[in-house]
């Protein structure tokens, strides 16, 4: 290709780019890759800086275009960098890295309109990549802005005359504006397909808790205001009371003296164990933020669940948890129906193996706790009495704090007998250890508790700061019952949420406080409501939502119905376009001198002189002069100027004519 280009004479049709077009490309590229650079390795910043600087110098005429050696060198640096950064990985990041590299390096090479055109096309893909990483309304808005600049610079490539930057931007905006309606129709109507082939898993940032629980884990999360998921209750307009909102994520039933883990990774789904009748059920749909983990959240005893736009179904495990076959890397919407209350069945019992597993403790850990439990047992207390005693112990002597002292080897002993200050995981963990030592089957559950009701859009926002740990205790004859030892210490935590449960000191720890000002609170409420609407109607507009909307709008989703509507819309649009076209043609462009003479005629008409049919402007003016000799001077000049412009093309006199007409009759 290079040799070919060299062999051709210079006069070949390589349209060199004008400087203004290059400037637009430069701005466009900078805007496009800025949000991506955050996710990309640092050396790409460097390459971009070099390329951008060089291009600017070329633009200012200081430097020449980079030679072959420099280009080869830069390409090698990029190739090396890509290999070093993404060795062995063929994920989205690698693709984006490669694309940005190409985008940046191509800028150095752009000489002709064809190169620039290619750059524009890569620009569209880069915009798509922006949306891959961030889909918030703000990000979408930013991308729309990028598209505006992209279109303006794209259109500029084909301009033959100089135009002001504002004019270019407006023309780009006009293109974008004209394109939006069709885009909306396509977005609503075109059927959604599932993924066509498996794609390398996106490296989603893992937020939220991990699959183990040690003291201090959740305290970190309490500072994180990021949303975890949003819930809509489909058969209710009001949220259930806060003490029912225990969003279960993981059941941890294996304690090693310090950390709680899952005993085996994911149990089989319950073998149609007992067909208990559901007394009260709750239907809700959850939009889950990607957390990079396979578990999902639900209220106690989910009965049915379905994820839309997901071909592999969500499983309900033995422990009544929801398990997604693939880690949640994209925002996921799923619907759950939970049984709030089941018909009590008498013969519910725990197998010996299960009972042993749920009372197992490491041999040498936490001797003081074990001693206390054995003392209680020795007093001949029943399970129920032990639970109540433990809860009242917490209630009397413990305080709730985000900044508990650091715990050492026998963490539960230290917590129960010396520090007595802690966060939910401390209470859940020590409560469980105490009960297990007393022989009561118990397990720790982690998830979220509560959430903030948004009355604007009627949904519940559950944030990372709502992360919570509690316990489930086996009650003979009833089954697993949720018991939250934290509620015994800080009932506010459960009823009103985290902020009310914290001391002033702890509240200072949380930097952006919701409850600080009601104005701020309202704004945040509004902003989150907008986010929710965005998620529901834009990000999660899937085949189900599509069907629902189409049924509501058109009365059905049959192909003929959609086609009919589309044809109708198309005809309406065509009629509109035709009307616009006719309107623009109805007023043919008039020559300036004719416009001037028409305005003179209007003035004369007000004074009582109307040009007759077939009367030439010259004759007309002569007639006016005959009856009004005082206008002779000005009118004869106007007539002369008009004739000179109209018939002798002396257009330089146009300004004079317009001036004379404007000042007529004086």
């Amino acid at each position: 290709m290079w040799t070919k280009r060299l062999a051709q004479p210079h006069s070949q049709r390589t349209e060199y780019l004008a400087r203004d077009k290059l400037a637009w490309l430069l701005v466009m590229q900078t805007l496009l890759i800025l949000p991506l650079l955050i996710n990309l390795p640092a050396w790409l910043w460097l390459v971009w800086a070099i390329a951008g600087f060089w291009r600017t110098q070329v633009f200012r005429g200081r430097w020449g275009a980079p030679g072959g050696t420099v280009k080869t060198l830069l390409t090698l640096v990029c190739a090396g960098g890509l290999i070093a950064s993404y060795a062995g990985k063929t994920g989205t990041d690698t693709m984006v890295g490669l694309l940005v590299c190409a985008f940046v390096l191509k800028l150095l090479e752009v000489n002709s309109a064809r190169d620039a055109q290619l750059l524009i096309f890569i620009g569209f893909v880069i915009t798509a990549c922006q949306l891959l990483f961030n889909q918030s309304p703000l990000a979408a808005f930013y991308s729309l802005g990028c598209l505006l600049v992209l279109l303006a610079s794209w259109r500029s490539l084909y301009l033959t005359t100089a135009q002001s930057n504002g004019l270019r931007l407006r023309a780009g905006g006009r293109l974008l504006l004209h394109a939006l309606p069709v885009m909306l129709v396509l977005f609503v109507v075109i059927p959604r397909l599932g993924p066509l082939w498996a794609i390398p898993n996106q490296q989603a940032a893992k937020t939220g808790f991990s699959d183990s629980l040690s003291p201090g884990d959740l305290g970190q999360l309490a500072l994180n205001r990021a949303p975890a998921f949003r819930v809509e209750f489909t058969n209710k307009d009001e949220p259930p009371p806060a003490n029912q909102l225990y969003w279960r994520g993981l059941v941890l039933d294996n304690f090693d003296g310090r950390t709680w883990r899952q005993r085996d990774s994911w149990g089989l789904p319950p073998a149609a164990e007992n067909n208990q009748r559901v007394l009260e059920s709750l239907d809700y749909s959850i939009i889950m933020e990607p957390h990079g983990q396979p578990w999902l959240f639900s209220l106690m005893t989910p009965q049915r669940t379905s994820a839309v736009s997901n071909r592999r179904p969500i499983r309900i495990t033995r422990d009544h948890l929801l398990y997604n076959p693939v880690p949640v890397a994209q925002r996921l919407r799923y619907e759950v129906s939970s049984a709030l209350q089941l018909e009590p069945v008498a013969k519910v019992s725990l197998s010996t193996g299960e009972r042993a597993a749920h009372t197992r403790l490491p041999a040498n850990a936490n001797p003081q706790t074990r001693a206390l439990a054995e003392q209680w047992r020795g007093e001949g207390l029943a399970d129920q009495a032990i639970i109540e005693r433990a809860l009242s112990l917490f209630n009397r002597e413990f305080t709730y704090s985000l900044q508990p002292p650091v715990l050492g080897q026998h963490s539960v002993d230290e917590f129960l007998f010396s520090t007595k200050k802690g966060f939910c995981e401390h209470f859940a963990s020590s409560f469980s250890v105490l009960l297990r030592a007393a022989g009561v089957p118990v397990r720790v559950v982690v998830g979220y508790q509560g959430g903030r009701w948004n009355p604007l859009e009627n949904y519940l926002l559950v944030s990372q700061s709502d992360a919570h740990a509690w316990t489930e205790v086996w009650i003979e004859g009833e089954g697993w019952r949720t018991i939250d030892p934290t509620a015994a210490v800080a009932p506010n935590r459960i009823e009103q949420g985290l902020d009310d449960a914290l001391s002033a000191d702890d509240q200072n720890l949380m930097s952006n406080n919701w409850s600080g000002s009601s104005l701020l609170y309202n704004l945040q409420l509004r902003w989150d409501a907008a986010n929710f609407v965005w998620q529901r109607w834009v990000l999660n507009y899937d085949s189900d939502a599509q069907e629902g909307l189409l049924t509501r709008l058109l009365g059905g989703t049959e192909v003929w119905r959609i086609t009919l509507w589309l044809v109708g819309l198309g005809l309406a649009a065509a009629a509109l376009a035709a009307w616009a076209l006719l309107r623009s043609h109805a007023r043919p462009a008039l020559r300036a001198e004719i416009r001037a003479i028409q305005s003179l005629e209007r003035k004369l008409a007000q004074l009582g002189y109307v040009r007759g049919m077939g009367e030439t402007p010259g004759d007309f003016i002569a007639r006016v002069i005959r009856s009004e000799p005082r206008w002779q001077a000005s009118l004869s000049i106007i007539a002369r100027l008009f004739e000179q412009i109209a018939y002798r093309q002396q257009t330089q006199q146009l300004a004079q004519l317009q001036e004379k007409v404007r000042r007529f009759p004086f």
């Binding site: 989205t92 798509a128 301009l159 396509l186 977005f187 599932g194 076209l581 623009s584």
Partner: protein, 328 residues
């Protein structure tokens, strides 16, 4: 000729026959949906391919915003069709005049363009079939004259063929074009070719040596009388003053008054015309009066731009046997 070029040529011939039927020749033509054609170009198809790539990206990642971007790109394609069409629609083209040229040189045609589009028309490209391209922009309600050159091969009348008017504005992915059959014509003079100087063959009935009364024979001076000088030219006045016998010399006495005589040459017709053309230009440059003698046409010797044009025009139009210059 390769097969593809052959089929291309066949297809183009058929296409031209079709549009000739639709758009008859006229001196002024307005562009509208009847004579404008529109189709995506190669860049346009590349753009569509890009759209598919982005659609796949959106579908595979189940990312609605990327899907929306793909739909926006499709929508932009549709919008581009309208904008590109609107850019050319409403332009009217008028043939104003043509400047003559010598065969083998490009003739220049003056065309006037005017647009009714209220934003004007950007990036309008025009060329005669096979001629050079010219790109310009039109302001609204501001007629613009463009000189467009077309190559010429033979003398006679040059019909430059169809005028291609096209635009890819604003996005370069759609090409809108029209082939206009303008009633434009230019006169092509013969190509000047140096041949032996033509000699005037004294035709019967003319005075020998030419009359001194003929135009261009200004008195230029006196010289000593030599035997054989015509008596008429003796300077009797000087003789009467006893200054001696002198002969009045006239500029055009012998060598002046060149004749571009068709019959003095014996080359083929076109070469003869080319030769006459060459000598006409030569004499005009040398400021030697020259006349033209063609079968059925005689132009008396004279000088000046107007005379030259008349001579060249006569040469160009001589004995035109065919609908000259019109190449299909």
């Amino acid at each position: 000729m390769s097969i593809s070029t052959y089929w291309r040529a066949v297809w183009q011939r058929r296409f031209f026959r079709w549009i000739d039927k639709r758009a008859p020749r006229a001196r002024q033509i307005s562009l509208n949906r009847k004579n404008l054609y529109i189709f995506p170009n190669r860049t346009g198809f590349l753009y569509l391919a890009m759209t598919v790539v982005i659609w796949l990206l959106g579908t595979n990642y189940q990312n609605n915003l990327i899907l929306a971007l793909a739909y926006l790109m499709i929508s932009l394609f549709v919008v581009a069709i309208h904008h590109t069409f609107a850019n050319l629609s409403g332009i009217s083209v008028r043939f104003i005049s043509a400047t003559p040229a010598f065969a083998g040189e490009p003739a220049s045609f003056v065309l006037e363009f005017e647009t009714r589009h209220k934003r004007g028309s950007e990036n309008v490209e025009i060329c005669w079939q096979g001629g050079e391209r010219h790109t310009f922009a039109l302001n609204p309600a501001e007629p613009q004259r463009v000189n467009l050159r077309a190559p010429s091969k033979v003398r006679g009348y040059l019909h430059p063929g169809r005028l291609l008017i096209q635009s890819r504005f604003p996005l370069g992915i759609i090409r809108c074009w029209s082939w206009l059959n303008l009633e434009a014509v230019a006169l092509i003079y013969p190509q000047p070719i140096a041949i032996d100087e033509p000699h005037h063959q004294a035709s019967s009935g003319r005075e020998e040596g030419g009359s001194s009364t003929r135009g261009g024979d200004d008195f230029s001076g006196l010289r000593e009388y030599q035997a054989g000088d015509p008596i008429k030219h003796i300077a009797w006045k000087q003789y009467a003053q006893n200054k001696g016998l002198f002969t009045k010399e006239y500029e055009a006495y012998f060598s002046a008054d060149k004749w571009l005589d068709w019959h003095s040459l014996n080359q083929l017709q076109e070469l003869r015309l080319s030769g006459l053309c060459y000598w006409a230009l030569h004499y005009e440059r040398q400021q030697i009066p020259y006349g033209l003698s063609l079968p059925g046409l005689t132009l008396e010797p004279a000088l000046g731009e107007y005379h030259l044009q008349t001579v060249l025009k006569a040469l160009a139009q001589f004995n035109l046997t065919r609908e000259a210059g019109y190449v299909d």
